[in-house]
Symmetry: C2
Subunit: 267 residues, 2 copies
DNA sequence: ACGACTTTGTGCCTGCGTTCACAAGCGGCT
DNA sequence: AGCCGCTTGTGAACGCAGGCACAAAGTCGT
C-alpha cells in the first residue's frame, strides 16, 4: 500500500523560498548573531515540518524517544532524503548512527514554526463552517487558542459557540487589537469576505486563513492562505478524467492496461 | 492593495507534472487521435485553472463575453504571463488582439477538469465538520452532488442532513458502488480515518479528500488530497515568527525598517 | 486595402525544490 | 582501544515551474 503523494499541503505557495526581501541591501542576511538563520526555508518544507511535528508528537506520547530519518519519513509519507534535508534547514540535531531525539526535534520545530508564542485566532462568520471551526479542539490543543468569534447576525450575539460568545462584526477592530489576535479566519459568504478581510487587517491581524472562494487583496505585510474545497474537488476530478482517458488510449493502442489497477472497471 | 500570493492552493503537490506513467513505452503520447493531449499539465496549473473557472463563471453571469489575459489574471490574482501559459496547456482558444471568449474558455476548462461528468460525493463522519460539508451548497452547484452520508453513530441514522439521510458506515461499500461515488470525503476522527479510507477504496472510490490529520495509505490508483487546517495555521505562524525576527534583526543592524509596514507595532 | 495597434502564444532563461549518493561522525562490539 | 557498521548531513545534478520578452496573428480604423 503506497503512502499518499505528499502534496506539499497548501504548501506549494508561489515560486519562492521564504526569503523575499525585495530590494534591501544586506539587512539581516549576514548579521553575526543572526536571530535564527531561519532564512530561506522553502515554503514546501515548512508545510512538511508541521506534519513531522504532528507525527513526532504522536510518537512522543507513545513513549518513543529516538527515531531515524527512515522511520519518520515513512510515518510522514515522504522520502527520507527529503526529510533529512528539511530538518537540515533548521539545524543539526541528529546523532549519526542513531537518529533524532524526539523531544529535541519537537522543540526545535516548534521554535522554527513560531509556536513558542501562542497565536490567538478570531473566526468570522459563524455559520455552518464557522461553527465547526469554533468547536474544533484541534486548534487550541496545538497552540492556537480561539480568542473571538464574529458575525453580523443579531440572533447569534452573545451565544456561546465552543465556549466563546459571538460578538458583533462592528467591534472586530477593537476586539482584535485588545486580544492581540494574530490569525483571522474568514468563513463568511464570499460577497463580504473582502470587507471582513479589510477590517481584520485594520484590526492589526497579520495572517488570514480564507475559506471563502474569492481572491483577497491585502497589503504586503499580511499573509493570506486560502482553503478552497471546490478547487480541491476539481483537482481530484481532473485526475479521474485523466486516468479514464489514459486507460482508454492504452486500450486503443495495444489492448493491455499495464498496472493501472482495476478501478475503472464499470465504465 | 496587493493581490495575495497565489499559493497554488493545495496545488503544489509532489514534484512532478501530471504525466507520471512510469515505464510504459509509447502509450498514448503519440496516438494520432490522442484522447485529449491533456498530457503534462503541471498540477499547480490545474489548481489555477479551477480558480480561473470560478472567476470566469462569475464574469459570465455578469454578462461579460470577452476577456483579456490581463483582466482575467488580475481577477484571479496571478501574473498574466502565467495565466496565458496555463491556458496554453489546454489549447489555443484566444483571439489575438481581442482576448478570450468567456463561454468557450469555461467549457474548455470544464472539459479538461473532467467536469462534464458529474462526480458523486460521499461524506463520511457527520460531526461538526461533516454537517458543514453536507450543508454546503457550493458542491452540488459546481458539479459535485452529494450522493451519500455515512456515520457510525446510531442516533444519526436516517436523519437528513442537507436533505440527505445519514447511512451506516457498514453499508458504505455497497452504497458507494450502487451510487457510483467517485469522491469520498473523510471527516471522521483521525483514529478511524485509515479504516474508513480502506472501505471507501474497496467501494470503488477513486479519489479521497481527507480532513483528518493523518497520512493515509492507499493503492496507486487512488488519489488522495488532504486539507490540514492545523498545518495551515502553523505555516501562518511561521511567517509571523519570521517577520518578527527579520524586523528585529534589521533594527539591530541599522535601526531602520524599510517598507515592511506597521504591523508589528505591539510587540 | 493597408497599416497600426492590441493581445495571444511560446521559446528561453533563471531559480527553486527534489533526489542521489557519499563522506563524515558516532555508538557499540570485540 | 580500535574497528565496524549505521545513520546523518550535504554537495552536486537534475528537472520542473515561473517570468520575461518578443514574434505571430488578428482586429480595428482610415
Ligand atoms: N460549509 C462548508 O462546508 C464550506 C465549504 C467550503 C467553503 N465554504 C465557504 O465558507 C464560507 C461560509 O460557509 P458556510 O456554509 O458556513 O455559510 P453560512 O451561510 O452557513 O455562514 C455564513 C455566516 O456568515 C455570517 N455573515 C454574513 N455576512 C457577514 C458579515 N458581513 N460579517 C460577519 N459575518 C457575516 C452569516 O450570518 C452566517 O452566519 C462561504 O464562503 C463558503 O463558500 C463553506
Ligand atoms: N471541526 C473542524 O473544524 C475541523 C477542522 C480541521 C480538521 N478537522 C478534522 O476533521 C475530523 C472531524 O472533525 P469534527 O470536528 O467534525 O469531529 P466530530 O467528533 O464532531 O465528528 C466526527 C464524526 O465521525 C463519526 N465517526 C466516528 N467513528 C466513525 C467511523 N468509524 N465511521 C464513520 N463515522 C465515524 C462520529 O460519530 C462523529 O459524528 C477530525 O479528524 C478533525 O481532526 C475538523
Amino acid at each position: 500500500m503506497a503512502a499518499q503523494r505528499d502534496q506539499g499541503h497548501n504548501g506549494d505557495q508561489p515560486p519562492a523560498t521564504v526569503a523575499d526581501a525585495p530590494a534591501r541591501e544586506v539587512t539581516a542576511r549576514d548579521v553575526p548573531a543572526a536571530r535564527e538563520r531561519a532564512r530561506a526555508i522553502p515554503e514546501a518544507a515548512v508545510a512538511r515540518l508541521a506534519v513531522y511535528l504532528r507525527v513526532l508528537s504522536a510518537m512522543g506520547e507513545d513513549g518513543v524517544t529516538t527515531i531515524s530519518s527512515e522511520e519518520l519519513a515513512a510515518a510522514a509519507g515522504v522520502n527520507s532524503a527529503k526529510l533529512r534535508k528539511d530538518l537540515s534547514y533548521i539545524g543539526s540535531y541528529g546523532t549519526r548512527g542513531v537518529g533524532y531525539d524526539v523531544d529535541v526535534l519537537i522543540s526545535e520545530i516548534e521554535r522554527i514554526l513560531g509556536l513558542t508564542r501562542k497565536h490567538s485566532v478570531a473566526v468570522v462568520g459563524i455559520g455552518n463552517l464557522g461553527h465547526a471551526l469554533a468547536n474544533y479542539g484541534g486548534f487550541p490543543s496545538r497552540g492556537f487558542p480561539v480568542a473571538a468569534l464574529f458575525d453580523v447576525d443579531s440572533d447569534l450575539m452573545g451565544v456561546p459557540v465552543g465556549g466563546i460568545p459571538v460578538e458583533h462584526i462592528e467591534d472586530i477592530e477593537s476586539i482584535c487589537r485588545e486580544r492581540e489576535v494574530t490569525i483571522g479566519v474568514i468563513a463568511t459568504p464570499p460577497s463580504v469576505a473582502q470587507d471582513v478581510c479589510d477590517r481584520l487587517v485594520s484590526g492589526g491581524v497579520q495572517c488570514i486563513l480564507n475559506f471563502a472562494p474569492v481572491v483577497l487583496g491585502v497589503p504586503d505585510h499580511v499573509e493570506v492562505r486560502k482553503v478552497d474545497l471546490a478547487v480541491e474537488m476539481q483537482i481530484l476530478s481532473f485526475h479521474v478524467a485523466r486516468r479514464a482517458d489514459e486507460a482508454q488510449a492504452e486500450v486503443t493502442v495495444d489492448g493491455t492496461r499495464p498496472g493501472v489497477g482495476e478501478a475503472v472497471v464499470g465504465r
